[in-house]
Amino acid sequence: MRPAGEFGQLEVRIAHKAFTAASGERFDVLRDVCFDIGNSEVGALVGPSGCGKTTILRIIARLDTDFKGTVERPLTGRLGMVFQEPRLLPWRTVEENVRLVAPGITAEALASLFKILDLEAHRLHYPGELSLGLARRAALARALAVDPDLLLLDEPLVSLDEALAGRLREQLAALIESRPITTLLVTHDLEEAIRLADRIFLLSPRPAQIVAEIPLTTPRSARSEQEIATIIGEVTRRINGRTAPPGPSADSIAKHDATDL
């Protein structure tokens, strides 16, 4: 039996990660990226584009093992992942794509998943016949169909128009609200993170480090527009000022010192 404390928890301790460019030059991507996400908690990594967020996800997904450090995943370890591109098999229909990774899924579970994500009409369509928004939702359905213990989302709303992103965000919020899955979301959009996550980790530009951890105590559904705006303002101030102390109105704490940037 596992110790009760780490049930379903994600522990990331990446000491160092570097890439070698084609020219042979090595450059650091990540340095001391350490964070925990509790069981059934939704964590969000927020940082500027190109800071290494996707690299962190790839390390957690064990697609990249060339790094110094450790990653402890939830012990039963079923992983669901939504890549930045949908990565559906073009020669299989939407339903076949989902069933392929989740052969044990019941017809009811599949039907309810497709219903929430508005995919019912597209079950028999091939990915080439879908818009990007639909393909993203199909990829999301696939990730959730495996009934994951850990869900990794890489910019799930990027390059969708405002209205579509808003709708998919609501669907996503409803889905992660309805099932207790330890989730890690990667985004460059702070508002998206605030609307979806329980805990936000702010990343510095490359080499990425976590500069602040912001727990959001208000339940997701109860976060008012005003509260969201306050948090955004507070975080923006901190990013710009770098060393600014936590604002009085926001329920946030700076866990890592930002001065060593």
Partner: protein
């Protein structure tokens, strides 16, 4: 329609050429057709066709399966590619005749030696084509399969083979024609029956009509296989593609 015109054109050129060359060197289409009919009546034609076809299919199947497995391995595993590449180049450049003669010397004038000799001739060609396909596999889908922990069998069936389909089709297309040409040489050199053996007999009698009759009959069989088997499989494999209109 275009195909029919092209066929008619071919027959017309043949007929004209036969007028100039004379019936001894190049018999006209009508003589060859009647020879086919005569051979069909005795039943000999179908027996020889069947024997050759069986050898073609056996050698083709062995070469495709082994070639696909080796090609996948070489395309995906760098060490296998390093080890296999020099051997592949040797095999690609070894004349068919050398392989056949050696197979008959080492394996005796047996059916197995004959079929294997043909398969080995086709093998490097399949390996090279499938290796290209394996190298071109979409890494993003391979990663997806790894993240979702797809079992190996499903991975091959749903992720790898659909991507290899065009390469397998190319290997099969060129393979079928290559294999039947080599089977004929094998039959000429070391088998007591089949189209190749019959053509050998006809060669000794200088019977050009019979040579053309057997060759033509087999071409028709291969064409039938192509339209009735290969093309429907290709259509099915590519039904997910959005049709260009």
């Amino acid at each position: 329609m275009v195909r029919l015109i092209s066929l008619a054109l071919f027959l017309a050129i043949w007929w004209l050429a036969s007028l100039f060359a004379g019936p001894q060197m190049l018999p006209g289409p009508e003589k060859v057709l009647s020879a086919i009919a005569a051979q069909a009546q005795t039943g000999d034609l179908f027996f020889q066709l069947g024997v050759t076809l069986a050898r073609v299919l056996a050698a083709f199947t062995i070469a495709m399966i082994a070639g696909t497995a080796i090609g996948l391995l070489m395309g995906r595993v760098m060490v296998a590619d390093r080890i296999g590449d020099p051997l592949l180049i040797v095999l690609l450049n070894l004349p068919a005749l050398v392989i056949i003669v050696l197979a008959f010397i080492w394996g005796g004038l047996t059916e197995i030696a004959g079929v294997l000799a043909v398969a080995i001739n086709k093998l490097p060609n399949t390996v090279v084509t499938v290796r290209e396909g394996a190298r071109a596999l979409d890494l993003s889908l391979v990663e997806m399969a790894r993240v979702f922990a797809l079992p190996r069998g499903k991975f091959l069936l749903h992720v790898v083979f659909p991507q290899l389909a065009p390469y397998l089709a190319a290997a099969a297309r060129s393979g079928l024609s290559l294999v039947w040409k080599i089977v004929l040489i094998v039959e000429l050199l070391g088998r007591p029956n089949g189209i190749g053996f019959q053509i050998g007999v006809a060669f000794q009698l200088f019977d050009v009509t019979l040579i053309l009759a057997y060759a033509l009959a087999f071409v028709v069989v291969i064409l039938l296989i192509e339209t009735a088997v290969v093309q429907p499989i290709e259509r099915r494999a590519s039904r997910w593609r959005i049709r260009a209109t």
